[in-house]
């Protein structure tokens, strides 16, 4: 199914972008990186599916919906980072925001290049 292909592609892209970024921010052990990857598994497919749903079924709520979903993803990942102590002595929510911004911006650039 084409939806599954999109989800898998986006998840792989998120791994490629966010895990090295997390490592650069201080997630320097294997367990921390695995937790970071699992946090992406929790948020990325849900956000992508939500975006697809908005695009197909609720166009008028697309932009605001995307922003809300991305913020929710940042909050969820920040919560996981704080509970699992991924980034020591640093604010996990700000790091989550930074990682997601880098990932989002890279995704938009990739989309532009593809088009």
């Amino acid at each position: 199914m084409w939806i599954l292909n999109i989800l898998i592609f986006n998840l792989c892209t998120a791994f490629i972008l966010e895990i090295p970024t997390g490592w650069a921010f201080g997630a320097n052990t294997k367990k921390k990186l695995i937790t970071l990857a699992l946090a992406n598994v929790i948020t990325n497919p849900a956000v992508v599916l939500g975006r697809l749903s908005l695009t197909l079924f609720l166009q008028e709520w697309e932009k605001s919906g995307i922003i809300l979903m991305e913020l929710a993803a940042v909050a969820v990942e920040g919560f996981i980072f704080s509970k699992c102590k991924i980034f020591n002595r640093k604010n996990p929510y700000i790091i989550s925001l930074a990682i997601n911004l880098i990932s989002f911006a890279s995704g938009e650039v990739i989309n532009l290049l593809i088009k």
């Binding site: 199914m1 084409w2 939806i3 946090a39 598994v41 497919p45």
Partner: protein
């Protein structure tokens, strides 16, 4: 911590149940939106319409769609096309059709039959063109007989009170109502009932059962030829929604598994 794990396991079981239901209920075939017209061309004079894209699905209607009828395909799946015809909605084998060019599909098809306005809200809008984006000229009341000169994408070109316009054929019926305002018509009874909201089935004039040319009287139609609604037909949008539900259930399942894994990993690291 044990309580948390127990709760997560319960959530996991619930999600598995929902996923199983979604697997059972969702359409399991890929559906893609489409926007083209085809003409029925079969070796045996008729095309079956089915509830799903495959011969394993039951037929939607007892009769077949005759050759040379033009159908509008709104979705495709594995060489089957989703269409509507005479009020029925379902899937037809595209191998038994010939695709028409966009120019041909947009050309009005000559009709020459009478229909009667039948709507849930008391009247049908006559518009300046074939589509709801065209402005309304007048609203024609239920029961009025109208002679359809030509059709295009489920719209009929008519003359009402000296004015030409287009009406959605889905808001009409070929069955004469009990009290009807008659107009001089030349007609052979033909059923057409595509939707007003989505351009469904432009139709050729079809003689499913030949009827006598009755001159000025509205032709009679046997009850079996009236156009019932096909409530149980699987729509393309329902199929898409079904796919979404299925994938959403799978994503939910994966999320729960990921949460469990995070908890397990961090429990081990604390030890």
């Amino acid at each position: 911590m044990k309580k948390t794990i127990f709760v997560l396991c319960m959530v996991f079981v619930i999600v598995m149940s929902i996923a199983a239901t979604a697997f059972a209920d969702a359409a399991v075939y890929d559906v893609e939106k489409a926007d083209f017209s085809v003409i029925v061309k079969t070796p045996d004079g008729g095309l079956n319409m089915r509830y799903g894209p495959g011969t394993k699905y039951d037929k939607v209607m007892s009769g077949r769609i005759p050759d040379n009828v033009q159908l509008y395909i709104s979705a495709v799946s594995d060489n089957w096309g989703y269409t509507s015809y005479n009020g029925y909605e379902g899937w037809v084998a595209l191998s038994q059709t010939v695709r028409v060019s966009e120019k041909e599909a947009k050309t009005p098809v000559k009709a020459g039959y009478t229909v009667y306005v039948k709507t849930p809200d008391g009247g049908v809008n006559m518009r300046t063109g074939p589509g709801t984006n065209n402005s309304i000229i007048v609203k024609i009341a239920d029961g009025v007989a109208l002679y359809v000169e030509e059709t295009l994408d489920g719209w009929g070109h008519i003359n009402y009170n000296g004015q030409y316009g287009w009406i959605a054929l889905s808001q009409t019926t070929t069955t004469a109502p009990a009290q009807v305002e008659t107009k001089p018509v030349e007609t052979k009874p033909v059923e057409t009932k595509p939707d007003e909201t989505k351009p469904a089935t432009p139709t050729e004039e079809v003689n499913q059962s030949p009827a006598p040319d009755t001159g000025n009287e509205p032709a009679s139609v046997t009850p079996s030829q009236t156009v019932p609604m096909s409530n149980s037909a699987v729509t393309a949008e329902n199929a898409m929604s079904g796919q979404f539900m299925l994938i959403a259930a799978v994503v939910l399942l994966i999320i729960v598994i990921a949460i469990l894994l995070i908890v397990i990993i961090n429990m081990r690291s604390r030890k």
